[in-house]
């Protein structure tokens, strides 16, 4: 399991906070910006948010665990989202997940040991006409077959084997 990184550079948190008035309604947006910048919500950053908005840490944690876009653990550099919406599901998204699991030794919700990939399933990315679909960071891959996954992942620098040695 990946440990929370210590001693993050918090200067960017301050500049994120500066963009928003001190009102509770901006909490979700603030947390999303932090998530985007750091790939997760560092504990120290949450402390800053608590002080800025005057909201108890417990409320921040309930937000962080409720919304899927937020995470308390670092995500991979490349976030692989396999769509498991209905259209993708009946066109074989589970086979894609099996293939990725095999190639990267990672299950949905986990991060690879080297921290480069995280695998997630999402409930529909709205590209059902291309089902099954996989999104890596912001790039969409449609009409996939399990056999195509290996080459796509190779484009991001690694499949198992050449990557164990790294």
């Amino acid at each position: 399991m990946i440990q929370e990184k210590r001693g993050e550079d918090l200067s960017q948190v301050k500049s994120i906070l500066d963009r928003y008035p001190r009102e509770r309604r901006f909490l979700l947006a603030i947390l999303q910006d932090i998530q985007k910048t750091y790939n997760y919500l560092p504990r120290e950053a949450l402390n800053e948010v608590r002080d800025y908005l005057g909201i108890p840490l417990s409320s921040l944690y309930s937000m962080a665990t409720f919304y899927k876009a937020l995470s308390l653990k670092p995500k991979g550099t490349y976030v692989i989202k396999v769509c498991d919406g209905t259209a993708c599901h009946i066109r074989g998204s589970m086979d894609l997940i099996d293939e990725i699991r095999k190639l990267l030794s990672v299950s949905p919700g986990e991060v690879t040991k080297d921290g480069r990939f995280s695998l997630e399933t999402v409930n529909c990315v709205g590209s059902c006409a291309l089902a099954p679909v996989m999104v890596i960071n912001d790039k969409y891959y449609g009409n996939l077959k399990p056999a195509m996954v290996k080459e796509i992942l190779a484009g991001y620098g690694g499949i198992r084997g050449d990557w164990d040695t790294k």
Partner: protein, 608 residues
């Protein structure tokens, strides 16, 4: 470049909806742009190049449409760009092989408007999509955009706007079909300020992307609708809540808001009237339950998105306890057209109690997947077989799922059902926001029910025990059935739990959660029984209950299955029937999919 080509007034539309983008349409746009820019100053009338939102025909993307001749090219590749530019854009010639192939007639048609897919449709909410550049407010205005706002502000009282919407019969497109005009009137009556208008763009149903396409492809139609609504109910502030996964929609709507401000359609003294209105975008956080109106409002307030009891309606106490009108994206997009063309025009479309059109995302095992807009009252059969072109491959229709996780599966016997709010309700499903997922005989209905309950158990916010625990228990039973551990009495237990979950949950998520289970039991009971009693999955989906066998009479020994088998479980000599080694078979179904002779048969499960 030689000669004096005839290029007067050509507009080239490159579809940059999510589907086409994934198929590389941005590259095509860039390549075309390079060639247009290289034309030099000698051209009096230069071709105009635009990116558009989703055309709906995602299956055939990337799409390039050339106006005014309306030449519609499908599945365009970057390597086709030179030819398109030289022949069609500069010389007006048609490239036959890129034209749309109408599957129903087998002919290529020049304009997609001549195709079966398009001919049956009627575009109101999608009126501009595919025709305009969503980033250009001028494109929107050129097609009559913001006319309705002008009419409302200067020729109509707020009261008249509301009665016009009431008379049109417009009902909420988000799923429940609540009468929009009535909702507005309720909000207007409350004498408490400020009031808010909200656009629900948290489209979370798996298999649905109507709202996404509208926000991406024609954001101004939503904004204009909201300004009109705000004027009618007396609100000065609006929010557009957009699902976190829809980054392009967030970008396009934000840009549209900026442009609307700079042209005086938003802000103080809109269009020189005394009316002020501001609107901002709120990004969702990735929680399905936030599509529920009260949960969505909690989320806008910066809280966890849990629904609340609704004995006081949001029109009285909504956002921050103030009167709030919340409508879905598609509903808002309908508003300007109704004001512009009048309630009578709108009310003449559709059925007695469901007026106008509905946008559906037609997906799954159907030939023409994509986005369609049809008049209410059209039958499911027309949608799936005429517009959708029927089932992919040699498949046979089994069911169509409507209404997302809250909806149900409708069998073949009910295909002639008219599509409107009330008919679908009576069949045990619902209109929902408009996802329509077609399933064929390779889809297991028990597994589909399991799939939806898995989804719902993850998305339940946990506030109500019947929803949080009930769905989970139902899921466990379904998982057991799919894994071959089903037993007598399971169906009765599922029905009993369904009743409690429906009855005792607070919000729509729990109240409708059992629908996928109830409709599949109602219409496909024999499939459940095959799983429970015979330990067999007739569709060949549940792996524990499936094994494959090659029918030696049908197998020609082509070897394709052996080549494609990822487990290396198939052997045989060329020309002779092949054999599957059951012990190494992983039941992935690849052999069945690739076999051209239908020689791979599904038989019951392996003994454990």
């Amino acid at each position: 470049m030689t000669g004096t080509p005839n290029n007067s007034g050509k507009t080239v539309l490159v579809c940059c909806g999510t589907g086409c983008l994934a198929n590389n349409s941005m590259e095509i746009y860039k390549e075309l742009k390079k060639r247009v820019e290289a034309l030099g100053p000698g051209f009096a009338v230069r071709p105009v190049l635009k990116t558009t939102g989703c055309n709906g025909l995602c299956e055939k993307g990337p799409i390039v449409n050339i106006l005014p001749d309306d030449i519609f090219y499908c599945r365009v590749r970057v390597s086709d760009v030179d030819e398109i530019f030289e022949k069609t854009i500069l010389r007006g010639e048609v490239i036959e092989r890129l034209l749309y192939l109408d599957t129903s007639t087998g002919r290529r048609v020049r304009s997609h408007k001549e195709s079966e897919f398009y001919r049956r449709q009627l575009k109101i909410a999608l009126r501009n999509i595919g025709q305009i550049d969503p980033a250009s407010i001028d494109d929107y205005i050129e097609r009559g955009g913001y006319n309705a706002l002008k009419k409302a502000l200067f020729e109509m009282s707020p009261e008249l706007v509301i009665s016009e919407i009431e008379r049109s019969g417009l009902r909420g497109r988000g799923g429940a079909g609540f009468p929009t005009g009535y909702k507005w009137r309720q909000c207007k009556r409350v004498n408490s300020f400020p009031k808010y208008v909200v656009c629900n763009g948290d489209e979370g149903d798996p298999g649905a992307f109507m709202d996404r396409s509208i926000m991406e492809g024609d954001p101004h139609s939503v904004i204009e609708g909201m300004i009109i609504g705000a004027y009618a109910v007396g609100s000065k502030k609006g929010f557009i809540y957009i699902r976190d996964e829809y980054s392009l929609a967030v970008r396009n709507v934000s840009k549209a808001i900026e442009d609307a401000y700079s042209r005086g359609f938003l802000g103080r003294g809109i269009m020189g009237s005394g009316f002020n209105f501001d609107v901002e975008v709120v990004r969702g956080g990735g929680a399905f339950v936030c599509g529920e109106s009260t949960a969505l409002m909690a989320s806008i307030e910066g809280r966890v998105g849990e629904p609340r009891v609704k004995y006081i309606r949001s029109t009285e106490k909504g956002l921050w306890g103030q009167p709030t009108v919340l409508n879905n994206v598609e509903t808002w997009a309908n508003v300007p057209v109704i004001i512009d063309r009048g309630a009578d025009w709108f009310a003449a479309i559709g059925t007695d109690r469901s007026k106008g059109t509905k946008v559906f995302s037609l997906v799954g095992k159907v030939k023409n997947t994509g986005l369609i807009e049809v008049p209410m009252g059209i039958t499911l059969r027309e949608i799936i077989f005429d517009i959708g072109g029927g089932i992919t491959g040699n498949g046979k229709f089994k069911a169509v799922q409507t209404g997302g996780p809250s909806g149900g599966c409708i069998p073949e016997a009910l295909l002639d059902l008219p599509v409107d709010f009330d008919s679908l309700d009576r069949a045990g499903s619902m209109m929902g926001s408009g996802g329509m997922i077609v399933m064929d005989e390779t889809t297991c209905m028990v597994e589909v029910a399991r799939y939806y309950l898995k989804f719902l158990s993850e998305e339940s916010c946990g506030k109500c025990t019947p929803c949080r625990e009930g769905i989970r228990r139902m899921l466990e039973i379904l998982e057991d059935i799919c894994a071959g551990r089903g037993q007598e009495g399971d169906l009765e237990l599922l029905l009993e739990l369904s009743e409690t979950v429906k009855e005792a949950s607070l919000c729509g998520l729990g109240k409708t959660a059992p629908n996928p289970v109830l409709t599949t039991i109602k219409y496909f009971e024999s499939e459940y029984l095959a799983h429970i009693r015979d330990k067999r999955c007739p569709a060949g989906v549940c792996r524990k209950l499936t094994s494959y066998r090659i029918n030696t009479d049908l197998c020609r020994g082509c070897g394709l299955c052996a080549k494609k088998c990822p487990a290396g479980a198939i052997s045989g000599k060329p020309g002779a029937p092949h054999i599957i080694d059951v012990s190494s078979c992983i039941v992935c179904g690849t052999c069945r999919e690739v076999c051209r002779f239908n020689a791979v048969e599904v038989i019951g499960g392996r003994s454990e």
